[in-house]
């Protein structure tokens, strides 16, 4: 793959950020949910690899929503299950 290519730079990929432990706790208490109720993303997902997130990290995704303009979503990094 050429050096200039970046997954996050692509139009279709929204911004990904790794959340700190405190942020995650705030998130879980504000929605009254547990960690495993979050949507998931595999550890070998290209965007996860690019920001260097580890398994069990929670990622904040800032989407360009067509309705709200800007929407935040969250995903927990999990190991890709073996087939």
């Amino acid at each position: 793959m050429s050096t200039k290519f970046s997954v996050i730079g692509h139009m279709m990929v929204p911004d990904h950020q790794i959340m700190s432990v405190e942020e995650v706790d705030d998130l879980l208490t504000s929605y009254k949910i547990t960690r495993d109720q979050l949507p998931k993303v595999y550890h070998d997902d290209p965007s996860v690899k690019e920001i260097g997130a580890k398994i069990n990290d929670v990622i904040r995704i800032v989407r360009n929503s067509q309705t709200a303009g800007r929407a935040e979503a969250y995903r927990q990094v999990v190991k890709r299950p073996k087939k």
Binding site: M1, V7, V13, D45, R70, V78
Partner: protein, 387 residues
């Protein structure tokens, strides 16, 4: 606009888009504080109305909202989708394809954007297209099958090679290698004669004509330039820049080609997008593809329904189909799964595995005849009598 108002708007619990619209509308009016407060009040009221109510069955509403207009779609169409001469599946078959999360669509196609220097220059755009379009060896010269000496002889045409910006040496090196690697055919020897622009292929078994003809066929069709999966490239000028449309798709391969804008280039193969760009890009691809398929047929479905579907499909970190091998087949409840498809198998497997159904979902409770946990069924109210 009054900076105080701006601060209040910025801090309000409203979507960004609403805030921006609001700022735009009130910036060129003189508004008193009383008026501003009334505006804010009305906006909160209206925004509250647009939000979905608690316990609403959003999934069913989405299913109906996509399903009903779906009945009006063309059953079977193979359109030349307006875009050049490239054939693209549209209408209902395409929508089904998206929801089924197929590994590859029946008509994969890419839209390749070019970097600035290439996008404004027709010749340079053409050069990029040659790097991408798969070209067979027979396009670069004559191929003769010599049945007396039992060999295949390729005479390369220097002008064609020059025009398509590929050196003769490159072809001579690549052709035998590609036949072995991609064609999985190894029973031959090859010999290059660059001075006379000739390339010879000898079958290992000199006795059999069958082998000679198989070899000739492989030599003829070996791809020596371009990306294997991309059969055709069309260059078109749109909005003042040259864009390449392809038949066949290979996102990873195309990203490596010089001159390709890797931030805008896209494919209609959702599985490929989620593999190369990640699950979030896959979600966006589902929304875009479903929306454009519906729009093309003149059907307006609210994005929120499609967003919900796309969210469900991408929940687990990979694109899952809607249906018995995906979302519907992985539900917790046995009865809910059995109600969908292949009832007996599910019940039998559940019995063998000693599964339990805790009757939390909608379908199970309908089956056993209990109130469902939706709408008013999910609210428990105890009234205290005052007397």
């Amino acid at each position: 606009m009054n900076p105080e108002f701006e601060k209040i708007v910025d801090e309000a619990d409203l979507p960004v888009k609403t805030k921006n619209d609001l700022k735009k509308h009130i910036s060129d009016h003189k508004i008193s504080e009383k008026q501003f407060n009334e505006i804010m009040e009305r906006i909160f009221e209206e925004y509250g109305k647009t939000r979905i109510e608690p316990c609403e069955a959003v999934g069913i509403i989405a299913a109906q909202s996509i399903g009903e207009p779906g009945t009006q779609m063309t059953m079977r169409t193979f359109h030349y989708a307006g875009v050049a001469e490239i054939n693209v599946t549209l209408g209902l078959p395409r929508l089904i394809e998206i929801m089924d999360a197929r590994k590859s669509p029946s008509t994969p196609t890419m839209t390749i954007f070019l970097e600035e220097d290439y996008a404004n220059n027709r010749d340079r755009a053409r050069e990029v297209s040659w790097q991408i379009e798969a070209a067979h060896l027979h396009e670069f010269g004559d191929i003769k099958t010599d049945m007396v000496d039992m060999h295949v002889e390729v005479v390369l045409n220097k002008d064609v090679c020059k025009k398509r910006k590929i050196s003769v040496d490159e072809i001579m090196e690549r052709a035998p290698k590609k036949i072995r690697d991609r064609g999985h055919y190894r029973d031959f020897e090859s010999e290059a004669d660059p001075d006379h622009l000739k390339l010879f292929f000898y079958p290992k078994d000199m006795e059999s004509y069958q082998n000679l003809f198989t070899l000739a066929e492989h030599v003829r069709n070996v791809i020596v330039q371009g990306i294997d999966d991309i059969e055709r490239v069309v260059v078109r000028k749109e909005n003042g820049e040259y864009i390449l449309y392809t038949e066949g798709s290979n996102l990873k391969g195309v990203f490596e080609v010089e001159g390709v804008d890797t931030s805008r280039t896209r494919t209609n193969n959702i599985a490929e997008i989620s593999e190369v760009l990640g699950i979030e890009a896959g979600r966006n691809a589902i929304i875009d593809e479903a929306l454009s398929t519906l729009r093309e047929q003149g059907i307006e479905v609210d994005v929120r329904h499609i967003m919900l579907v796309a969210d469900m499909m991408c929940m687990e970190g990979e694109v899952k189909q809607i249906g018995r091998h995906g979302i519907a087949g992985e539900k917790e409840s046995v009865l809910s799964r059995a109600a969908f498809e292949v009832t007996v198998n599910h019940l039998l497997d559940a019995a063998v595995a000693n599964e339990e159904d805790i009757l939390e979902g909608v379908t199970e409770n309908v089956i056993v005849g209990q109130p469902i946990q939706l709408g008013t069924g999910d609210v428990k109210l105890i009234a205290k009598r005052t007397s």
